[in-house]
């Protein structure tokens, strides 16, 4: 084997590794679905608080979060069955979002029902966790723009911690739309283009 052949062999390795890594493409659907569910939860909570419908307070979140988890569990099972290869990046991201989801569910329900965290501070606390999840995801995807979304989540968390009140519903909804649903749509479009290649 000479230098030229060695170089060809190395290029072949690089090419095949690059092609294989494309086995994992984030399709953004999880971001979109969870984003919509949370916005619906925030809007319904706002209505419940404004019209003082105390007897159903919390029920909206139980239903929406249960739908979200059901979607995620069924979706990941289906995806696993369809997928012919699993990348390490995919495993890391799955673990990050699963653990973040559990943490957010604990904060949302258990903290609120136990009274450990006032309702108005649930959204900023969840924003801090989402900031971490987006930061790690961006790093793993190698997508700077996703990493930068975490700045938005953390800035929003600071704002909501210092400025609690009814506006938190709107701030969080706004963040959910522009820092989660819209990026989810972008990822969905990118995945479609990538898979069409």
């Amino acid at each position: 084997m000479d230098e030229k052949q060695a170089l060809q062999e190395l290029n072949y390795i690089k090419e095949i590794m690059h092609d294989s890594r494309k086995a994992f493409v984030e399709n953004g659907i999880g971001y979109i679905v969870w984003g919509i569910l949370i916005v619906l939860g925030l809007i319904s909570s706002y209505i419940i608080v404004v019209y003082n419908i105390k007897n159903i307070y919390g029920l909206n979140w139980i239903i929406l979060v249960a739908v979200g988890w059901l979607f995620s569990i069924i979706g990941s099972k289906k995806e696993r069955r369809k997928r012919k290869a699993t990348t390490f990046a995919e495993k890391i991201l799955g673990a990050v979002w699963f653990s973040s989801g559990v943490a957010m569910t604990i904060i949302g329900f258990i903290s609120f029902t136990s009274g450990a965290i006032s309702g108005v501070f649930i959204s900023p606390t969840i924003s801090v966790i989402l900031g971490i999840a987006f930061f790690v995801s961006g790093m793993v995807y190698g997508a700077k723009w996703i990493t930068l979304l975490s700045i938005g989540w953390w800035a929003g968390a600071i704002l909501m911690f210092y400025w609690p009140g009814m506006q938190v519903f709107w701030i969080m909804s706004f963040m959910m739309i522009f820092l989660q649903i819209v990026p989810g749509i972008i990822l969905y479009k990118q995945a479609k283009t990538e898979l069409a290649k």
Binding site: E3, S20, T86, T87
Partner: protein
């Protein structure tokens, strides 16, 4: 490039198909037989032979399971295989650098 001993290149990896299999398995954590077939672009029989050789060398491990009624073989690179692959790439780099 006179003093490079080509025997330093691992004979088990030094085959187009086995090199491709190892490259795929380094890139992904685990892969099904059909995924490997698609990436390596070879026939079932040929791929099986090369996979068996890598398995015998302890470079890849296989898990057999059923998805519904369909048998599925999932392959994974072992730590021994990863080390051998890294050493192989290192030797190629040495060859290019003329060491």
């Amino acid at each position: 490039m006179k003093d490079f001993d080509y025997h330093q290149l691992n004979d088990i990896i030094h085959s187009r198909i086995r090199l491709a299999i190892m490259s795929v398995l380094v890139a992904v954590d685990e892969a099904e037989f059909n995924f490997l077939k698609d990436k390596v672009k070879t026939t079932d029989g040929n791929l099986s032979v090369h996979l068996r050789k890598l398995e015998d060398a302890g470079y890849v491990s296989v898990t057999k399971s059923f998805v519904g009624r369909k048998p599925v073989s999932t392959y994974k690179i072992t730590s021994k295989g990863r080390k051998a692959f890294e050493a192989y790439v290192e030797n190629l780099e040495k060859l290019i650098k003329g060491k």
